[in-house]
Symmetry: C2
Subunit: 396 residues, 2 copies
Amino acid sequence: MQLNEQYRTLSQSYLFSTIAREVDAFRAANPQADLIRMGIGDVTLPLPAVVVDAFAAAVREQGEAAHFHGYGPEQGYDFLREAIRAHYAGFGVDLPADDIFVSDGAKSDIGNILDLFAPGGNTVLIPDPVYPVYCDTNHMAGNRVVFLDANRENGFLPLPDEGQDADLIYLCSPNNPTGAVYSRDQLALWVAYARKRGAILLFDAAYEAFLQDDTLPHSIFEIPGARECAIEFCSFSKTAGFTGTRCGYTVVPHELERDGLRLREMWLRRQTTKFNGVSYPVQRAAAAVFSPEGMAACRENIAVYHGNATVICDALRSCGVWHVGGENSPYVWMKCPGEGSSWDFFRLLLSRAAVVGTPGSGFGKNGEGYFRLTAFGDPEATRRAMARMVDLIGKI
Amino acid sequence: MQLNEQYRTLSQSYLFSTIAREVDAFRAANPQADLIRMGIGDVTLPLPAVVVDAFAAAVREQGEAAHFHGYGPEQGYDFLREAIRAHYAGFGVDLPADDIFVSDGAKSDIGNILDLFAPGGNTVLIPDPVYPVYCDTNHMAGNRVVFLDANRENGFLPLPDEGQDADLIYLCSPNNPTGAVYSRDQLALWVAYARKRGAILLFDAAYEAFLQDDTLPHSIFEIPGARECAIEFCSFSKTAGFTGTRCGYTVVPHELERDGLRLREMWLRRQTTKFNGVSYPVQRAAAAVFSPEGMAACRENIAVYHGNATVICDALRSCGVWHVGGENSPYVWMKCPGEGSSWDFFRLLLSRAAVVGTPGSGFGKNGEGYFRLTAFGDPEATRRAMARMVDLIGKI
C-alpha cells in the first residue's frame, strides 16, 4: 500500500478557521457589537426570479414520467452549452459548443484538470498572493511550483519572465484575492510566452461578470493564439449567485494539442470516466441566467456589489490608503495603514471597529501588509463598516 | 510539458456506441418494429412526489434573501448526513455522521478516491466482468491491475486467493453487471483477507436498495472489522431515481489508517480542495428520500423494477437458460443460448425479436458468452420482450 505521500506535507490552511476563532472570541466579549463581515467570498443576494422559475419547473419535470430526465449528455445539455456559446459570442469569442464542458463548479475542474498531466512531471507558475486551490492541488500532484511575485510595483499583475521555464501557468483575472485585472496587451504577453515554451495557460475567469471597463478581456480566448495554449474555467457562482446551487464550465479548445494528444479528448475521457454530469434542474437554472431577463437580473445584483465596492474604494481614497480592485471585481485589496502586519490590522479593525476582513498574508508571502475586503455584503452594513474604518484609520 | 501518458493507452470503450449504431441501423431498416430496450442501466420512473416537493421548496428558498443558501458545509448539510446515518442504523450499522461525505454521485468518488494513493504505486484487484470505471480510473493512475475471475463456477462472486498480493480491492454487491450478491460470510472472507494484507476494500453499494433477502448485507460495515479496512460508495441514483438529479455519498471510517495517515482526513482534504459540495436543493431532495413517505415511494418504484426482474427470470427459467441476479438486483445476467458469442446473441435478439440487451463481453473477458438484461424498463414492454425472447430461444 502506497499512499499519496504529498498529503503528509500539505500545509493546513488555518486562515479562515483562525479568523472564525478570533471573531467568536470578540463576539463572546462584545455581545452587543454590530459586527460586520467583509471577509467572505460568498454571495448574499438570492437567485433571480427567472432562474428560480426555470429551476423549479425542471424539478417538477423530474416528478413526471413523460418529462423525467435520467443520465444526461456527457458534456452537459445542448440548451446550456448553446447558451454559454452565445455568451462568449457576446464578447466576440466564437467557440464551438463541443469545446464547452458543463461541471458542478470551477473549483472541481481547476483541481481535476491536473489528472491530464504526469504527476510530479511539470513546472507550474502560480502568482503570489493566490487562491489557495492552485497551490494545494499542485502540491497533491507533486509538481514543482514556482511563485510569480505579484506586488505593488507590478500592480499585482505579474508578467512573464523570459528566463523562467514553465509548463503550466495559472492566471486569474479579475483576480482573487486582489481584484486586479489584466489588460488585453498584458494577456497577449502571457499567450506569446506560453506559445513560445509550449506551456499551457490555466485561466480562471470566475469573476468576468464584474468587468465594467469594456476594454478589458472577459476571456483568454479574446487573445489571438490562445486556443492553442489555454484552458479556461468559469462559473455561475459569482455571475449569478450559484455558490450554493453549483454549476460551472470549462473550455478546452479542440486546437489545444501536445505530443499528439488533444487535451479536449483527454478531458472528455477524464470527465466521462470520473464524473457523471450536473443535475438537470441545475442546468435549466443555469441556462435561464443567459436569458435576457436573467442577464438583466444578474446585472442588477452585480450593480449592488459594485455599489459596495465603490463605497469601499471611495472611503479608502478619502483617507489616502493605497488599494487595487473594486471597479471590475468584487474584491478590494488594500495596503494596511501604519507599519503593522496583515494580522495586526485584522485585530485592530475587529477590536476597534467590529469589522471583519481577510489578512492578505493568508494568500501568500506577498500578501503580507495587505488586506482583502469583499463587496458581497449588505449595502447599508458596508457603508457603516467603511465609516468606522475611515474613523479608525484617522486615529492610527 | 509532461502529459499523463496513461491516456495514450487507455482503451476506448466502444460498447454502448457500437450498440447504438447497430440499433440505429435496425430502426432505419425496420421503422415499424416495436423496439424494446433492455440494455440501459438508467432508471425510468420519476422522482417521488415527496422528493419533488422538498426539492422545489428548497429551490424557492434560493430565491428569497432570508432563506438563501450560498456555500454549504464541506461534507454536506447535517440534515442529509443525519438522514444517511439513520438509514445505516436501519440495517444495524452505527456510523458517526463525520465519516459520511455527500457528493454529486458515486462515480465521481470512485474515480477521485485514487487521489489518496501514490500514482502507479499499488496492486489493484478488480473483478471481471466489471463496471468499466474501476479499470479505467486505475489505468489513468498507472496502477497494476489484477483481474479476479468471476464465472459460473463461483456464481460470479470471486473470493480471496491467499496467494495473491493486493493493496486495493474493488467489490460491487449487488453486482453490476451480473446482479450477483455476496453473502455476509463471503464478505467476511474479504475483510479478513484485506486486514491480513493491510489492503483496502473499495465497496460499491450503489444497488443496496434492491436487496430483498434480509440475510444479505447492505453495507460492508455490517461485517466486523471492516471499519479498519474499507471505504464504501453509495448513491441515490438507483435507490431513488437520482441518475439525472445527482447525489451520492462515501463513507470513510475514522478508524481507517495506514502509515500514520487517516484516510478520512485525506479525503476531507481532497474534497475541500477539489470539490465544493452538492447543490443545496439537491441535498434537500436527497434528505426527503429518507422520510417515511419518501422511503415508501422508493420501495414502490423498486417493486416495479423487481416485478420486471421476476418476469425476466421466470421467462429464462421457463426455457432452461442459466442466469444469476434479478432477485436482489435490477440486473439479470444470462448465459447466451446456443454456442454463439455475446455479440451473436445481441444481433440475433435485435434482428429477430427487436429487443436490445448488453453483450456480456463488453464488461470483460469472463463476460463472453453472457448477456445483461436490465429491469428498469416499462413492465408491459418487459413482458412483451421476454415473450419474444422465449419464442426465439425455442427456435434456436
